[in-house]
Assembly symmetry: C2
Homo-oligomer: 277 residues x 2
């Protein structure tokens, strides 16, 4: 099947980091005014806030809180750092509960001082360790596979196949996967792994942006949908074929767009969402 037309903004979610120059109050106000329906909150946006009150403000603005971003960073060769990571993930679960976010996105982490296999084991162990708290709070955890160019320090989970394997092994109704086109577009097994992810009820989130050609920076040069070479509509059609009815989350890190007027950028996002996503 081909992707359905995006005639309205009912599935559009934007990450707070996408419009980083705005604080969360300004972002919420402007997203709401523009008709955006969902917001994923990065934890730094909550600094100094009463989290419960901020959650209520977002809902009062008509925004659905899609996720808290991010937990993870479990692996370390240093046991005390691994323990600190577990504490931080428990804190994130508490924050998600206070905010009213049903899910935390996990950027799983990787430690270049130890083998990837060890980091992968520590990620799985870490998720299992915080699962009781996640269950108690009713918060879902989404493993986000990251592009292989981040295998050194950001994630030892670098393909949807690996993330699916891990979700299957953990085998909890609260642990699934976040699919981000930026990280996964190159993978020849992407279609089959999205199908598998859907079959297992593990498809928890769908993130969009584009891959700039050329890309100038390892982190801060993501493109707006349609500007790059990712077949977003094709990937979205695979996601929709699984029955996914969640939000399409715009997650763009871009020094270029952050230096622009964010209202102009928001209009570009909405246009790109409807025409190029």
């Amino acid at each position: 099947m081909s992707a359905k037309p995006l005639n309205d903004l009912s599935q559009l979610c934007i990450h707070t980091i996408t419009t980083k120059p705005w604080n969360i109050e300004t972002a919420a106000q402007n997203f709401s005014k523009a008709g955006v329906k969902g917001i994923t909150v990065w934890r730094d946006a909550l600094t100094g806030r009463n989290i419960k009150q901020t959650g209520q403000q977002l809902r009062d603005a008509g925004l659905e809180i899609v996720s808290l971003c991010r937990g993870g960073f479990f692996p370390s060769i240093d046991v005390s750092k691994r323990k600190a990571a577990l504490d931080d993930n428990r804190k994130a679960i508490q924050e998600a509960a206070e905010l009213g976010a049903p899910m935390i996105v996990l950027v799983c982490g990787s430690d270049p001082l130890q083998p990837l296999e060890e980091s992968r084991k520590q990620i799985q162990d870490g998720i299992m360790s915080v699962l009781p708290e996640a269950k108690a709070a009713g918060i879902k955890l989404a493993i986000e596979p990251l592009h292989p160019m981040y295998a050194d320090t950001r994630s030892a989970v670098n393909s949807l196949g690996q993330a699916n394997d891990m979700a299957c092994e953990i085998n909890s109704p609260l642990v699934g996967v976040a699919v981000d086109v930026y990280h996964l577009w190159w993978d020849p097994h992407l279609e089959q792994e999205i199908k598998r992810c859907g079959r297992n009820n593990h498809l928890y989130a769908f993130h969009i942006c584009d891959w700039n050609v050329p890309t100038a920076d390892f982190l801060w040069d993501r493109g707006l949908m349609g500007e790059g070479c990712i077949p977003i509509k094709k990937i979205r059609s695979w996601v929709e074929d699984t029955g996914f009815q969640g939000f399409y989350e715009v997650e763009i890190f871009s020094n270029k767009f952050w230096s622009e007027d964010q209202s102009v950028f928001l209009n570009k996002i909405i246009k790109a969402y409807q025409e190029k996503s």
Copy 2:
């Protein structure tokens, strides 16, 4: 098994691009003096030379010519560019024959204006198209899978699994695979795919360097062996377990090292080869 100790330099090959500030004559002289046994020649190093004579000079210096680097860049949405690519690959085959190189490394190419699947098909078709000339000249072609961060313009073949699949489908005694740790270290299927590559007699070349943490540039910041996070010895042990007895080729693109005295850099390469590879 663990990797064997590298007590001598009998399997050490260096790519001309690794010491880019040196012309090929200076590189050959210095490699030879230092006891390096193999050289892989980048085509730009041959500009303005009589290729046959250069090949003879390299052999006279006691160097074995391991490969000509590089052919490939087959895909394009533009049919005239695809045709030009075939012509260029035929030229490379002729150059390899004149130089006395038994093999060409293929950086396969990718066109962001068309789907990856189409680029992959054009790569396979392109290799098949030049195979008669390769056969006539007795030149082997090594498909080099490139890191997924190069999927936009440099290669639509981004894992050893894909390269193995393609070599199996082409099914020619002249078409195999080049394994470069920089491109493949992150892949959870690397060990099994190296085994498969060996079983099929497709393991034609083994390239080494390291992944800097952090990496500053998409192209020009490769590390010297031991400086980064790639488990080179472990990967080499997998390669050796297949029965591979070819060269270990040092291929480093580095603005940092190119700005140093290349004799000092060559000494560092030899030390890193023996101690960290």
